[in-house]
Amino acid sequence: MEIAANDISQTLCQSVAEAAGLGRPLQLCGSGSKGFFGRRATGTPLELTAHRGVINYEPRELVITVRAGTRLAELEALLAAEGQMLAFEPPHFGPSATLGGSAACGLSGPRRPYAGALRDFVLGVTLINGRGERLRFGGEVMKNVAGYDLSRLMVGAMGSLGLLLDVSLKVLPLPETERTLVQACTEAQAIERMNRLAGTPLPLSGAVYDGLQLYLRLSGSAPGVRAAQTQLGGEVLADGAGFWRRVRELEHPFFDNDRPLWRLSIAPGAPPLGLPGKQFIDWGGAQRWLLVEQPTEQLAERLREVAVQHGGHAQLFRGGDRNGAVNHPLPGPLMQLHQQLKLAFDPQGIFNPGRLYPEF
């Protein structure tokens, strides 16, 4: 019964169609746990958390379909009870975080380089486009190449292309065993080691450097993890689960700070960047967090330059000026494609205007 009671999709379709008719921008609101992320939201708030509940979960199928307003914590508890998990280890950033918000922001945790990102586990979505039409793309099967993959396109679009009603995700069995090994080393050694090991058949599921020590997480069958541990050496961390949760939630002491937090997403093997400020390395080198002392546009430029040199981009993840160039600027032709795609989904420009880029 709960599942029928918590379906507000018709009301949402109407609200969107109305807003489209009036050309009135909407701010799509989940729990607000990721309100700090992206550019500042504008528009009339449209509350989405009431659209919640599990539509279908069959552990044998490794698939779950849930309404976007469902709390991530509830979803994870349900999966854990069946010995399964969201393998992309999404950060919550608050107890009420919803799956819809996670999908819109496209955020994944420390397991990402080894298991895949949120987008990799999306099998299908139901969405409302900017015309107020309810559309379903993808499905609940593992392989589906009928039509363009519009479900994955929604991930990380910050709600600018459509209002997510529900998401079908592939889930995976919880690892039988996890163990975290710690070793002191330099930044250069850590990066080298993380990447060298990722090229060998070890059951690696996390690799972080906090400025002093390298943390490697192993996940898998007990004999497999034991064998890898013997091979790698290092101290076993007592509260491994707690450590990775704090890294995922940016609650590790490194992040306990009001300074602007930059995220450099670069080729994992890129050597130490030699930038001012404190750094924390996650994703086996592919995600470098940087706390900056004095946020200037000059420094932002420098960070973007360095990130591009190493095959990636820089993003002002938290703090600083949320009306500014928070996301890495796109080259002209690419921005044009973004604007045309935005028009294809949301011709009146009503969904979360300016949240991703000021241009749309």
Partner: protein, 509 residues
């Protein structure tokens, strides 16, 4: 807004050739009928069309200029890799240019530390793994056509293979694409990093069947070669038991590297052909590959073996050595050509269903097979629920091809009905355009068209494929299966039957 494709109805062929010669050497432009013939179809050779011209650029810059030239003249363009595709996605257009990417076949850079390879689109799938073998790395997606198919084609189709359940499809294994747009601009999508700013455009482009752009460079992710891989072969006296065992193995918390199923007809055909040592009296077999660290594989082998027995297997064998493992797989990989030996023609389908519906769909398929009086062999990716029913027919017998197509259409619609899809990995292309009307609503199809226009406002890239026009769907729904055969192909069917499906047999999925 003008939504009609701006395709020039009367192309000035000599003028186009002259313009292309400013871009490419004369020998890279084929225009005589004899030279064009080899390009008239892809792996689905039931559909044929000789293109207006074939161009064979040598690099991305030439591709860009060719696109610019065609855009200015309103000439449609169909891209082609190795043409092993099974849905007619690379079927040429009579008034269009066929753009072969075969000459863009260089591996540009291998980066062992970052575990990536930068390759041109004409590089063969297997060649990537071969190039990095010495580093202990490989490229995971392995469609059965991997000896011949190219990475550019894999990107266009979001190709899978035998190891998808654990290692994903092309979309999970590509980091960056360089794309020439319909207007001839070069854009880079994705990054050397694990994500890129803005929309996830690689996800959108992968599997877009050449409708949104021409891929001229691909950065693929490489994975470490597992320490050990071991195969189990389980025999069943009942197809449903085998189908249910698939779910049981996965429910036990183990993700096999590959989990394939063959039914009796396929087992016997394969055994006759390659002598893999398969139990020929079984109703079905499952091949289950487990990989990972040595200790992990040992632990999982024991559990999966017990699970298969608990699920009703009459026999479970473990490949005792690398030779036997290769032989077990050889039977599976040769199953398509093996079926080709026992029937003059066959038609390969590609629906995906939820795993729990496998038994039911196989039963219904066998009922349909009886109804249409055409045998169906099943060889497929059971772990993914991705079916490949092979419909056996003889095109020389009047009416059989039509019956095979009708049966195929019923199977695909059955897949949609049980919550699946009309195509798991072969793409819609030309072949399954009608069934798109069954799977998607008018509004959903309109959204696809809007996305297409965002990339290709004049509708010059592979027009007529992948997404049907609304008018087409209303006609299909009104007339039913009488209109099943896509319009351009039927009259060309009768000829060249000896050539038919050779590619499919050699490079089936």
């Amino acid at each position: 807004m003008d939504h009609t494709p701006r395709v020039n109805p009367s192309v000035d062929k000599p003028g186009l050739i002259r313009a292309l010669r400013q871009i490419l050497p004369a020998q890279r432009i084929l225009h005589e009928r004899e030279a064009l013939r080899p390009y008239e179809c892809d792996g689905l050779s039931a559909y044929r069309q000789v293109p207006l011209l074939v161009v064979l650029p040598d690099d991305a810059e030439q591709v860009r200029q060719v696109m610019q030239c065609c855009h200015e003249r309103g000439v449609p363009v169909v891209a082609r890799g190795a043409a092993t595709g099974l849905s007619g996605g690379a079927l040429p257009l009579a008034d269009g240019v066929l753009l072969s990417l075969a000459r863009l076949n260089r591996t540009l850079h291998i980066d062992p530390l970052n575990r990536t390879a930068r390759v041109q689109p004409g590089v063969r799938n297997l060649a990537i793994s071969q190039a990095v073998e010495g580093l202990g790395l490989y490229y995971a997606p392995d469609p059965s056509s991997q000896i011949a198919c190219t990475i550019g084609g894999n990107v266009a189709e979001n190709s899978g293979g035998v190891h998808c359940l654990k290692y994903g499809l092309t979309v999970h294994n590509v980091l960056q694409l360089k794309l020439v747009t319909a207007t001839g601009e070069l854009v880079t999508l994705g990054a050397e990093a694990l994500d890129a700013p803005g929309f996830d455009l690689p996800a959108l482009l992968i599997g877009s069947e050449g409708m949104l752009g021409i891929v001229v460079e691909v950065l693929v992710k490489l994975l470490p070669t597992p320490e050990r891989a071991q195969v189990l072969l389980a025999a069943f006296d009942d197809v449903s038991k085998a189908a249910n065992a698939v779910g049981d193995v996965i429910a036990a918390g183990i993700i096999p590297a590959g989990l394939e199923m063959m039914d009796g007809l396929a087992i016997r055909a394969a055994e006759d052909f390659v002598h893999a040592g398969y139990p020929v009296d079984a109703a079905a077999i499952l091949l289950c590959e487990l990989d990972g660290a040595n200790e992990e594989v040992s632990a999982h082998l024991a559990r999966v073996r017990q699970q298969l027995l608990d699920s009703g297997a009459t026999e479970v064998r473990t490949a005792e050595n690398e030779e036997q493992r290769a032989l077990f797989w050889k039977g599976r990989k040769s199953a398509f050509p093996a079926v080709g030996r026992i029937s003059p023609d066959y038609y390969c389908m590609d629906g995906t269903v939820p795993r729990k519906r496998l038994a039911e769909v196989l039963l219904e398929t066998s009922r349909l097979s009886e109804h249409y009086q055409l045998p169906v062999a099943n060889v497929f990716h059971a772990g993914d629920g991705n079916l490949h029913p092979l419909i056996l027919y003889d095109a020389n017998r009047p009416g059989e091809l039509k019956r095979a197509e009708d049966l195929g259409a019923e199977i695909l619609e059955l897949c949609v009905r049980v919550g699946g899809t009309i195509t798991g990995e072969h793409g819609v292309g030309h072949e399954k355009i009608h069934q798109m009307c069954v799977q998607f609503s008018a509004a959903e199809l309109a959204q696809f068209h809007a996305v297409k226009r965002a990339f290709d406002p004049h509708g010059l890239l592979n027009p007529g494929k992948a997404v049907p026009q609304p008018r087409h769907c209303s006609e299909y729904k009104a007339l039913g299966s009488d209109t099943l055969t896509p319009p351009s192909a039927r009259d060309q069917r009768a000829r060249d039957q000896d050539e038919q499906d050779q590619d499919v047999r050699d490079h089936g999925a």
